[in-house]
């Protein structure tokens, strides 16, 4: 099935170039918005389409834009979050590298809707190549009068520049991203105030994920009703599902919300690698709790995955097959969060270090009898007291591994696990 919206035309040769993008109808949505719609009508259309943020939080995009547009302070800013760093997520990279004008067009429509004249695409530090491609695309759009002053002859000015942070997972969190954009360590700010009122340089800022913006041209061109005819009642449209790990065909599959986990694995990702047995799936990246084969029929939209005890997040499905050691999996995820904890609040900074220490002892068989329960206690404290979403979520995956595979942890602790013996040598 061809990708219906976000990745539509991505297979077209040289769709990266402005000329080919325009041949495929590119910038027609911007033209329609500028010619036929008021800024408020654009906001209304996006609200009606029930578009929600694709970065993980699922906040209604139209509402966000409305809040920005109604804040009297100026200038206002548009920011695309291209920090794509949640482990297992690789849905934005193809947009940035292959069809960058869809993002730029989406941002320009957003700018018109909220009354912003400046936009920034904030890439993660490792995205050197995507950043270069984006800069070329921005230059092309400027050259063609699609960015800059008096766009399409209208009283509408919008400029975009491309920025690169320097390697920190936390910068995907919106207020950390803003700190990084202002030249500081990417430590989260307290909310409220939210970026819609106090974002970049304390000005109203519409900060959305790359994938969110990339849906907008379609909503404007085809209309909200057509858009929301896809998906489930709660989540309209499509999602770029990323699936990787132990599957035969890892990749990004753009599908309407409402597909089940089983359908995605079996009918799109080619089934479990080499016919092995499924062990578990982390459906929303490294900070989501794992689902077991009992949950294969869960519908992959935000409320359904939450009801199953996890979260869809950025729809980064990391699939784990037998025989994989879940203590090692837990340790990998725990080390990741220890490394990426920004150090601002003690619960997260210490909680991530202690989780690694305890897991390491369990894996080596040098831990104490109560260590498994101590991780669970620690997790509960960190969940309730950490400053930001990273800290609140970071021990959840380990807790879920213990919950579903406790026996493996006990075997390691008692020195009975064969899988990790080599670590001791």
């Amino acid at each position: 099935m061809a990708a219906p919206i976000i990745y539509r035309d991505i297979e077209t040769p040289n769709i990266r170039s402005l000329a080919v993008y325009r041949e495929k109808g590119g910038y027609k949505a911007l033209e329609k918005a500028l010619n036929d719609m008021s800024p408020a009508a654009v906001v209304e259309e996006v609200k009606k389409a029930k578009l929600v943020g694709r970065g993980g939080a699922g906040f209604p995009t139209g509402l966000k834009w409305e809040l920005v547009s109604k804040d009297p302070a100026t200038p206002r800013y548009i920011i695309a979050n291209a920090e794509e760093g949640e482990p297992g997520t690789f849905k934005d990279r193809p947009i940035l590298e292959q069809i960058p004008h869809r993002l730029i067009e989406g941002m320009a429509i957003a700018a018109y809707a909220v009354g912003a004249e400046e936009g920034v695409i904030v890439c993660r530090g490792e995205f050197m190549e995507p950043a270069r491609i984006l800069r070329e695309a921005v230059a092309e759009a400027e050259e063609a009068g699609l960015l800059g002053e008096r766009i399409m002859g209208k009283d509408f000015t919008f400029r975009v520049w491309v920025y690169r942070t320097a390697g920190a997972y936390i910068c995907g969190e919106e207020t950390s991203l803003l700190e990084a954009l202002e030249g500081k360590p990417g430590m989260p700010r307290i909310r409220p105030p939210f970026p819609v009122n106090s974002g970049l340089w304390s000005k109203p800022t519409a900060l959305n994920n790359v994938e969110t913006f990339s849906n907008v041209p379609n909503i404007i061109l085809e209309g909200a009703d057509s858009y929301s005819s896809l998906g489930t009642e709660k989540n309209a449209g499509t999602k770029g599902y990323c699936i990787a790990g132990h599957v035969n065909k890892p990749g990004v599959y753009e599908l309407p919300f409402g597909i089940t986990l089983r359908d995605l694995i079996d009918n799109h990702a080619g089934g479990i690698l080499d016919g092995r047995q499924l062990k578990c799936v982390f459906p929303g990246g490294a900070s989501s709790s794992c689902l077991t084969p009992d949950n294969l029929d869960v519908v992959l939209d935000f409320p359904s995955v939450a009801a199953a005890g996890s979260m869809l997040g950025s729809a980064a499905l990391m699939v784990v097959a037998e025989p994989t050691c879940m203590v090692e999996v837990s340790l990998r995820l725990a080390r990741f969060f220890r490394h990426e904890s920004c150090g601002k609040c003690i619960p997260c900074r210490e909680g991530t270090c202690q989780t690694v220490r305890l897991l390491d002892g369990i894996q080596r068989g040098t831990g104490r009898k109560g260590d498994i329960d101590e991780i669970l206690d620690l997790a509960s404290v960190v969940r309730q007291s950490a400053f930001c979403g990273l800290g609140q979520a970071c021990i959840n995956p380990v807790v879920s591994c213990i919950k579903h595979f406790r026996q493996e942890f006990e075997e390691h602790l008692e020195g009975r696990a064969a899988c990790c013996r080599k670590e001791e040598g």
Binding site: G125, E182, C242, G245
Partner: protein
């Protein structure tokens, strides 16, 4: 150390002046300024930061906080080519440990180390947003994957 020798060359200072024009205040441009200086001076050692502090008109301590907060800045000499290998879950499940081992066998370096000839520095990386190509690695700006340990030698040869 001679007082009048600049570790940040004039050409780099010119690049910084151009950069500052785009930001409301100089300190706002710090992340990009650090990239520019690291690119031209190899790394962000103490004496480099001393000079940059004067250029940026901000305390060295604040710059040091930023330099050590982010993974892609280095205060130590770096090789001409930077290798990043993902160690996160999807790549681990697709045997990324074998890629580290293959690089070690070829170059004799572990994460954080630089070859004696200054050709390569190896660093660990967290998810590179290339999980469909796991195990993934980057050399400078280019992403490779799925990397077969047997290909590592041939890939490195190009640098």
């Amino acid at each position: 150390m001679s007082a009048n020798v600049q570790v940040i060359p004039e050409s780099t200072r010119e690049r910084l002046r151009e950069l500052f024009e785009r930001f409301p205040r100089k300190p706002d441009a710090l992340l990009t300024a650090l990239y520019i200086v690291q690119e031209d001076c190899n790394n962000l050692a103490s004496e480099v930061l001393d000079e940059l502090a004067a250029v940026m008109e901000m305390p060295k301590s604040i710059m040091y906080e930023v330099v050590t907060f982010y993974h892609l800045y280095s205060t130590k000499p770096r090789g001409r080519n930077i290798i990043l290998i993902c160690q996160n879950l999807c790549c681990y499940l697709r045997s990324s440990d074998e890629i580290y081992q293959a690089v070690y066998e070829e170059l004799g370096i572990r994460p954080g180390e630089t070859t004696e000839d200054g050709r390569f520095t190896l660093e660990t990386a967290e998810c590179l947003a290339a999980c469909e190509r796991a195990p993934a690695m980057m050399i400078n700006e280019k992403t490779f994957g799925p990397v077969d340990p047997a290909q590592v030698k041939a890939i490195l040869k190009k640098y």
